[in-house]
């Protein structure tokens, strides 16, 4: 049995899955103490705790601490060398620039100065800073400067993150942001993981604890201790994965709509896998290297505020409160549904009272106006969805082959979850001109998504046979290679490393490995080839665990 828990802003959902069956669900109120909340949710499931094989959490802990800036002060030691002035990316006084530079092939051209690093560490220590992030430009091509800085300051700080271990992607400013956030939320996350483990033990649950990440995959609690930044934005990831788990025909390209009160999250599933942000997700107004799902959030939901402007009806993008039929202040699409008798939970009379003035001002029949309100809401969602698909398809490509054989993303079905999904289904089908599925357990889709997501990690390998060097930043590998190494050697090596380090990466060693990208280029000196520059990205494939999807 697997337990999935999604801690949302107001509600916490829990679900228990046994094989292909959902055996229990629970919905509780999210309290101030997240550990209590988790405990309550598990207890509300009323199941035999000894049979739980793993517990997966999707929390807003790191997301909120970043957005609300409720994190511990963290110092940053950054080496860059020439290029865009890195101080443009510094946002507290605890960011320090030190000497040192590495070029795009990973060659050092300005060394680190130990005395300078030690002095900076001393300054941070004196200020009482406990956590330090270390970043150097091109550290994913040569991590030695980050490692050197770490060894100089090693014993002095409790929480340390090294940029190259967090992502193999190139992007120095994003590496700075990612490393800062990781360091800053580390103490909060560590405390949290510790308390959750304790609470689970008290309930008699000793099986593994996992966390959902922004990319719709999971990793172990100990990996989450070291890389808490990867657990940001797990909410939208949970809903996309939940939708995927409940999708009857995941092989058809699916447009996923998570329709809430205020916003609708739009995502795309291709071949049973959600699409990712190519460079990394944004959080707190900053860009990171954190691998995450590509999701567009639009201000269109069941509680969107309805207004009249001239002869136009405007729906959203803001929310004024709950629908009028639930005691709210203004008319909403839910009220329109209530008037039409398609939403029966609220007070229909209040809905009629709220929508009637609009009908009056427009001189239209009440039910016509209601249908118009809903079609405007659905139209807004559709407009954003089309822009989203368009954006995906406009992604630049770098080879002639891809230019001549474009892979066009064209969804063939809709999947809607969230509060108003069931009521909006017929309107969505008409507007989009395709089948829309609203799954049976849509109410606990997020918790289900957490429960059923596979473990995922990505590693990056670069091999330069002229410099005789291979690097895998995520695993800290930096070693000499023979000049004869080929791309298939590198691929085999990467697959082996991914399996051998499964524990450390916090993933299952059985996960299906897929190649995300591979490239090989000649290195030419004068007019002869003197080596090969190879780049490889491997991942354990995201998706829903086989026990669920195989049946």
């Amino acid at each position: 049995m697997i337990i999935g828990i999604d801690i949302g802003g107001t509600h916490t959902d829990a679900v228990c899955v046994d094989g292909r069956n959902i055996t229990a669900t629970a919905k509780t109120v999210t309290g101030d103490d997240l550990v209590h909340t988790i405990r309550d949710a598990i207890e509300a499931l009323a199941i035999d705790f000894s049979k739980i094989s793993r517990t997966v959490l999707s929390t807003t802990l790191s997301t909120n601490s970043i957005i609300e800036k409720k994190y511990a002060p963290a110092g940053m030691i950054v080496s860059a060398g020439p290029g865009i002035d890195p101080r443009r990316y510094f946002f507290t006084d605890d960011f320090h620039l030190v000497e040192g530079a590495i070029d795009h092939r990973g060659r050092e051209y300005i060394p680190i100065r130990a005395d300078e690093v030690a002095r900076v560490a001393g300054t941070l220590k004196k200020k009482g800073v406990d956590g330090v992030g270390i970043v150097s430009k091109f550290s994913v091509r040569n991590p030695s400067h980050e490692i050197a800085i770490h060894s100089i300051i090693n014993s002095e700080f409790e929480h340390v993150s090294l940029g190259h271990t967090l992502s193999g992607g190139l992007n120095f400013p994003r590496r700075i942001h990612t490393t800062f956030f990781n360091t800053a939320v580390m103490p909060v996350q560590k405390r949290f993981v510790h308390s959750v483990r304790k609470a689970l033990a008290e309930l008699g649950i000793r099986s593994p604890l996992l966390f959902l990440k922004a990319d719709g995959g999971t990793f172990s609690d100990s990996a989450a201790d070291r890389h808490p930044v990867e657990t940001i934005l797990s909410g939208p990831a949970a809903s996309m994965m939940g939708g995927l788990a409940l999708c009857h025909d995941p092989q058809t390209t699916t447009l996923m709509l998570d329709i809430g009160g205020t916003t609708t999250d739009i995502g795309i599933l291709i071949g049973g896998v959600p699409i990712l942000e190519p460079k990394g997700v944004d959080i707190g107004g900053l860009k990171t290297l954190v691998r995450g799902l590509k999701v567009m959030s639009v201000g269109a939901g069941g509680d969107s505020c309805v207004r009249v402007s001239g002869s136009e009806i405007l729906v959203g993008p803001d929310r004024d409160g709950p629908p009028a039929c639930m005691g709210g202040p203004s008319p909403t699409p839910m009220d329109a549904l209530a008037v039409l008798g398609q939403f029966t939970k609220g007070d229909r009379q209040k809905a009629v009272q709220a929508v009637t003035p609009i009908a009056g001002r427009l001189g239209q029949d009440l039910s016509d106006v209601c249908r118009r309100i809903i079609s405007i809401l659905v139209g807004n969602i559709k407009k954003s969805a089309c822009a989203f698909i368009d954006e995906v398809n406009r992604h630049p490509v770098y080879t002639i082959y891809e230019m001549l054989h474009p892979e066009i993303v064209e969804p063939g079905q809709l999947m809607a979850i969230g509060g108003p999904a069931a009521q909006l289904k017929p309107y969505l089908e008409e507007s989009f001109g395709m089948r829309c599925t609203v799954p049976e357990h849509a109410m606990v889709a997020n918790a289900l998504g957490a429960a059923l997501a596979r473990t995922t990690r990505q590693i990056t390998l670069t091999a330069d046979t002229q410099l005789r060097r291979m690097i895998c930043p995520e695993l800290g590998i930096d070693e000499q290679i023979p000049a004869s190494m080929t791309l298939s050697d590198l691929r085999r090596r990467g697959e082996r490393e991914l399996r051998d380090n499964a524990d450390r990466l916090g993933i299952s060693a059985q996960g299906e490995i897929s190649v995300l990208e591979e490239q090989v280029f000649n290195i030419v000196r004068g007019f002869s080839t003197t080596g090969r520059n190879m780049r490889l990205k491997l991942q354990t494939k995201p998706g829903v665990i086989e026990e669920w999807s195989a049946l």
């Binding site: 060398g81 020439p82 290029g83 865009i84 002035d85 443009r88 990316y89 530079a101 070029d103 795009h104 092939r105 051209y109 430009k137 091109f138 091509r141 190139l170 992007n171 120095f172 400013p173 994003r174 460079k279 107004g285 900053l286 860009k287 406009r394 992604h395 630049p396 490509v397 770098y398 080879t399 002639i400 082959y401 230019m403 001549l404 490239q519 280029f521 000649n522 290195i523 030419v524 004068g526 007019f527 002869s528 080839t529 520059n533």
Partner: protein
């Protein structure tokens, strides 16, 4: 977070699956390290700098500036359509107002490709700037005067040739002196055809010219000329082989110099041309150019091995360049007073060598000297490939006499043994071919 002062569009198309040969300077990984540097610097995350997808130039787009012999399909590969299509996208972004300026960081290059194309010259098959310019003139008729400032180290003999007779396209080339480098042309005496005198300006620079010399030419010659010409669109053919580390040239320009050049010029569109120091120069030069276009501080962009003292030019080089720019400026100021040929038709004959494909071509050109329009012309071209063709150009804004003359040349070729007769009718956007 950094915000750009100007919205800049980047069309990046490295064509990782195209090369002339694996160890040729024009090979697959030419822009690989540039991509690494641009990515690592986070240039594309700067607010206001946006990457856009390249497009595909159509056969018609290519026929506007070129007579491809025997046809477009035989002379290009898909890579050329994408590279030219990338330039077209850059122009579209700028002219539609999506961005303030754009950089087509594409390959393969094009500035050695001439109007008649029998094969590849100087790694170029089609002139990607010219394909873009003619597309602009077709789709944005309010763009009447265009300036191309070619800062590649090699003389852009292709662009010079395509616009030799066109008074509305000003071509200015700064390059290493043709006596010391391919293609061996690009002297001040090459001043434009009889209907476009003064609209072709060459500034041959001595080997080892560095930042001071090149920027002097920009400030004291190129900018005053542009001020007089008042172009509607400025294009920089941004070749990067003036760099001190370039393996096939002998100049001493730096990444900072290239950035400053673009800051001074403030082009609407930059198009990558040559530049073969793929590890030591291109990553830094391209980063610098993008930042300069966007109005972002580039002063910290510097090559790892830069030693300004080592590459500084000899004072005699600076003196030479000062005198040269003074003379050229004087020549430019007298452009209206040059005497045009008195006869109705002006003829020239020349031989053209296609070094990349090893083809030689012989051309006999006749242009109608006209005060009403840029003048129709015909080119009788025979190449060592065996093709002998006649190519006729009726220019944008052709007067009725030039139009009649062009059509007459096309209808009644002067000899029977041409393989084919081609016609470019710009105003009607019609490109015809008759196989004889």
């Amino acid at each position: 977070m950094i915000t750009a002062r100007r919205k800049t569009g980047l069309i990046f198309f490295p064509a990782y699956d195209w090369e002339i040969s694996p160890s040729h300077p024009e090979r697959q990984e030419r822009l690989l390290y540039t991509q690494d540097q641009v990515m690592e610097e986070g240039v594309l995350d700067i607010e206001g700098i946006t990457e856009f997808k390249a497009g595909l130039a159509t056969e018609k787009d290519i026929c506007r500036p070129h007579f491809c012999v025997p046809d477009v399909e035989s002379r290009i590969t898909p890579s050329h359509s994408v590279s030219a299509g990338g330039c077209i996208e850059a122009a579209r972004l700028v002219l539609d107002g999506t961005v303030d300026n754009a950089f087509a960081l594409v390959r393969p290059p094009g500035h050695h490709a001439m109007r008649v194309v029998h094969g590849a010259r100087g790694f170029c098959n089609i002139n990607i700037e010219a394909v873009m310019i003619e597309w602009v003139r077709k789709h944005y008729p309010h763009i009447r005067k265009i300036a191309v400032v070619d800062t590649d180290c090699h003389h852009g003999d292709g662009t010079q040739d395509v616009y030799w007779h066109d008074p509305n396209v000003l071509y200015i080339s700064l390059h290493q002196d043709g006596r010391t480098l391919y293609p061996g042309s690009g002297f001040p005496e090459e001043f434009g055809g009889p209907n476009a005198l003064g609209k072709n300006l060459n500034i041959p620079l001595p080997p080892r010219t560095s930042d001071e010399g090149i920027l002097h030419v920009m400030e004291h010659f190129v900018m005053p000329v542009l001020k007089d010409f008042e172009p509607d669109l400025i294009i920089n053919s941004a070749g990067q082989d003036n760099h001190y580390s370039d393996p096939i040239t002998n100049m001493s320009f730096t990444a900072g110099g290239y950035a400053r050049l673009n800051e001074i010029l403030a082009p609407d569109i930059c198009v990558l041309e040559g530049g073969y120091s793929i590890e030591a120069a291109l990553p830094y030069v391209n980063t610098g150019i993008i930042l300069a276009l966007a109005g972002v501080d580039y002063s910290y962009i510097r090559e790892p091995d830069l030693d300004p003292e080592r590459i500084r030019e000899d004072p005699r080089v600076i003196d030479y360049i000062r005198n040269l720019t003074d003379d050229l400026l004087d020549l430019w100021s007298r452009r209206e007073h040059f005497e045009r040929p008195q006869e109705e038709f002006f003829r020239r004959s020349r031989n053209i060598f296609y070094d990349t494909d090893g083809i030689s071509e012989s051309q006999h050109e006749v242009v109608r000297v006209c005060t009403e329009c840029p003048g129709a012309y015909r080119i009788d071209s025979s190449a060592s490939t065996g093709y002998h063709v006649l190519a006729i150009h009726i220019p944008w804004g052709a007067c009725s006499r030039c139009r009649e003359q062009g059509l007459a040349w096309f209808e009644k070729p002067d000899r029977k043994n041409y393989y084919a007769v081609y016609l470019q009718d710009m105003d009607n956007d019609e490109y015809s071919v008759k196989i004889l």
